[in-house]
């Protein structure tokens, strides 16, 4: 009996390790879990892109479920999610707010003129300091913020139609509840 314990425990160990490897190796190392999930969105006050004399801060959004999309004119991947945003903005009340990250105001405005502007308000984070507070490491990133100003979900990389349909839209509906 005791002779069997060793080979059996080795087999069990190998199976468990293979399980870990299977799970671990199929994860995308570029996707980092955000520490900000279920925490209040960092506070900030920044000038608006189209009119620098007006400011914006997330406190104004209390009571609304909204999306904060971090983008830049130099960001190639931002172009791939842009048509989806345009379509959603055209369809109705789409609470998308843009954080223009480490960009030049002229370039950002030009980009929006060329491709269309789906944002309710665009905010200028020229130095990228607010980006640091939000733990932004790869543009585009999108934060889903609830009525209490708490970050409920973070999407890294461009949002595909599938991401929207299967993850973000249901989550938004649920939060609006």
């Amino acid at each position: 009996m005791s002779r069997r314990i060793l080979p059996i425990s080795v087999i069990v160990l190998v199976v468990v390790l293979l399980g870990f490897f299977y799970k671990g190796l199929s994860l995308d190392p570029k996707l980092l879990p955000s520490v900000l999930i279920d925490k209040p969105a960092p506070s900030f006050t920044l000038p608006q892109l189209h009119n620098a004399s007006l400011s914006f801060s997330p406190e104004e959004m209390k009571g609304k479920v909204w999306l904060l999309n971090v983008w830049a004119s130099w960001c190639a991947a931002c172009r791939s999610e842009h048509p989806l945003f345009m379509r959603l903005a055209r369809q109705g009340d789409f609470p998308l707010y843009g954080l223009n990250y480490k960009d030049k105001v002229v370039d950002a405005k030009q980009w929006l003129r060329e491709l269309g502007d789906p944002y309710k308000i665009s905010i200028s984070d020229l130095e990228g300091n607010v980006g640091i507070d939000f733990g932004v490491y790869g543009v585009p990133e999108t934060f889903l913020i609830d009525k209490e100003g708490i970050i409920r979900y973070k999407h890294v990389g461009p949002i595909s139609r599938k991401d929207w349909r299967e993850i973000i839209e249901p989550k938004m509906k649920e939060l609006e509840g």
Binding site: S2, V35, E127, G128, G135, V136, Y137, G138
Partner: protein, 164 residues
């Protein structure tokens, strides 16, 4: 008289600026601060190019975070405060050597548990084997011994016979 006062102000101004600049330069050249900066920047991961530290990376984000570290050092923050600032924003992954906590304790202790359990199993296995061999040695009956001796004797006679 007026010229004298103006001259005095001018000289004073130049001197004062000189002192300020010297102070600034001294702060920037301070080897202790440089050492702290290097230590922090090499211990923190650049999130954009994940296998490089903030010190090594050329990514824009690493540049911003280097600035952030410097600013905080000059603002008198301790190393721990600066690391916590980064962890609060980017998570444990930003550290090359994460602190031990509830979530990762198994990763730190696991190898030692495996080593101890494996070592104990090995010791037991060897002991069981040794006991068994000893038992086998002792378990030869007198009859078996005689039979074995007979076979050996026979073998010897046959060999001798063969030589002749």
């Amino acid at each position: 008289m007026k010229i004298k006062i103006l001259l005095l102000i001018l000289i004073g101004g130049v001197f004062f600026t000189g002192v300020l600049l010297a102070g600034e330069a001294k702060l920037r050249e301070d080897p202790e601060i440089k050492e702290r900066f290097k230590h922090l920047a090499t211990e923190l991961r650049c999130l954009k190019c994940q296998n490089q530290s903030i010190w090594d990376s050329k990514a824009g984000l690493a540049d911003d975070l280097r600035k952030q570290i410097k600013t905080q050092i000059y603002a008198g923050k301790t190393d721990d405060q600066i690391v916590d600032y980064m962890v609060d924003r980017y998570g444990d992954f930003v550290r090359f050597k994460p602190a031990i906590d509830k979530k990762n304790i198994f990763l730190w202790v696991g190898p030692f548990i495996f080593l101890i359990v494996g070592g104990l199993l090995l010791v037991r296995y060897v002991k069981v084997r040794r006991d068994q061999t000893e038992e086998d040695n002792d378990s030869m009956s007198e009859a078996d011994r005689l039979r074995a001796q007979a076979i050996l004797d026979l073998d010897e006679t046959v060999n001798k016979g063969g030589d002749k």
